[in-house]
């Protein structure tokens, strides 16, 4: 699935991934391939992106929102 992490100042990440872990308002959760459409708000924490080679990338965010539709994840971070 395609993942895009954008902040107002820059684009942090764009690319293919197999798993994204997010700090949700109701607790940390993961989105995997072909997840159902979801919109969730996020709190401060780390976003973990696992790419195809199973290498993990971490991004610090201060809050935000995530949207997943049609196997595409967009994280609007702050």
């Amino acid at each position: 699935m395609e993942v895009e992490i954008v902040t107002p100042d820059a684009q942090l990440f764009q690319g293919e991934a197999t798993l994204v872990q997010l700090p949700g308002t109701n607790g940390s959760f993961e989105i995997m391939n072909n997840h159902a459409p979801i919109i969730a708000s996020l709190v401060a924490g780390k976003v973990k992106v696992l790419d195809k080679a199973n290498a993990a990338k971490y991004f610090d965010i201060k809050g935000g929102v995530v949207e997943m539709t049609k196997n595409k994840i967009i994280v609007l971070a702050e």
Binding site: P8, Q11, T25, I38, A40, S41, V65, L76
Partner: protein
């Protein structure tokens, strides 16, 4: 005929001025590109945020904006005036001040009489102008241009939202120069608070996707509205910055052109004066020689 030395001095001063203005034009052009890049970088974020908000609000009532969409009788007005820190940019700052004065004397004349129109100024030019009225400026943020990032702008937006929620103000508008292109800026008056209900024209189109919401829809909307307000202010500032550099570039370009025209005229005057002086000298020598011949 002007004296030679005088003209020469003016030529030197005009040509050095034109060098300065053309250098300033170059600098503004470079800064304009950077400012435009910043606007472009923000665009995907702002676009996505609006899209998500539209997705959400299509199935919610317009009143779900919570405390930010409370409409009150507009007794107390806050005007956020965005100008630049520096001058030499044509009518850039004057346009904002003119627009603010028009609001003061037409739209909000009644509130102004009671002293209920306050200002948040961003940029030294606005601060200097509106500080002339005692007590009119609530806060000013001139140093924001040193590092114009989202994280620096967010606290300003937060404090404005706080004051609105507390009831210090019933209506907030933002005045800034919108960037059309490098030569054209448009002074605009944008409503900031209360939040207007998003236009529901795309309602049918987006209603098809069945989202899972976490937590529930309502609280996501209430989480997103402050975010989009911060983005709105940030976007206004970036726009204004790009417009400022555009305005300065145009102003400096015109100044350089004018200096060149002036230089041309001065050179002509200088050469005429020089020729006249030579003619005079020759006349004197010839008549002197003639007198000697007797």
């Amino acid at each position: 005929m002007a004296n030679l030395k005088e003209v020469r001095n003016r030529i030197t001063s005009v040509s050095s001025t034109s060098q300065i203005t053309s250098a300033m034009k170059m600098v503004s052009a470079a800064k304009l590109r950077r400012a435009q890049d910043a606007v472009t970088r923000l665009r995907p974020y702002a676009g996505k945020l609006r899209e998500i908000l539209e997705n959400l609000s299509s199935s919610l009532d317009a009143s779900d904006g919570g405390q930010f969409s409370v409409k009150r009788e507009p007794n107390k007005i806050l005007i956020v005036a965005i100008t630049s820190n520096r001058g030499l940019c044509g009518g850039f700052n004057a346009n904002i001040i003119k627009l603010a004065n028009r609001l003061l004397h037409d739209d909000y004349a009644a509130q102004n009489k009671k002293g209920n129109v306050k200002f948040v100024t961003i940029g030294k030019k606005a601060t200097a102008y509106f500080s002339k009225t005692p007590g009119a400026v609530v806060s000013s943020h001139d140093s924001i241009y040193d590092a114009l990032t989202f994280n620096n702008v967010a606290p300003i937006a937060e404090s404005i939202m706080d004051q609105f929620v507390k009831g210090d103000f019933d209506k907030v508008v933002v005045l800034y120069n919108q960037f059309k292109n490098a030569a054209v800026q448009l002074a605009v008056n944008e409503a900031y608070l209360p939040v207007e209900a998003a236009p529901t024209k795309s309602l049918k189109k987006v209603a098809s996707v069945d989202y899972i919401f976490e937590p529930e829809k309502q609280s996501i909307v209430q989480d997103l509205i402050p975010k989009s307000l911060k983005i709105q202010l940030y976007k206004a500032l970036l726009d204004s910055q790009a417009a400022e550099h555009g305005a300065r570039m145009t102003a400096m370009h015109k100044a350089t052109d004018n200096a060149k025209d002036m230089l041309k005229e001065l050179k002509l005057t200088y050469n005429k004066a020089r020729q006249a002086a030579i003619t005079n000298e020759i006349l004197e020598i010839v008549s002197g020689a003639n007198a000697l011949k007797g």
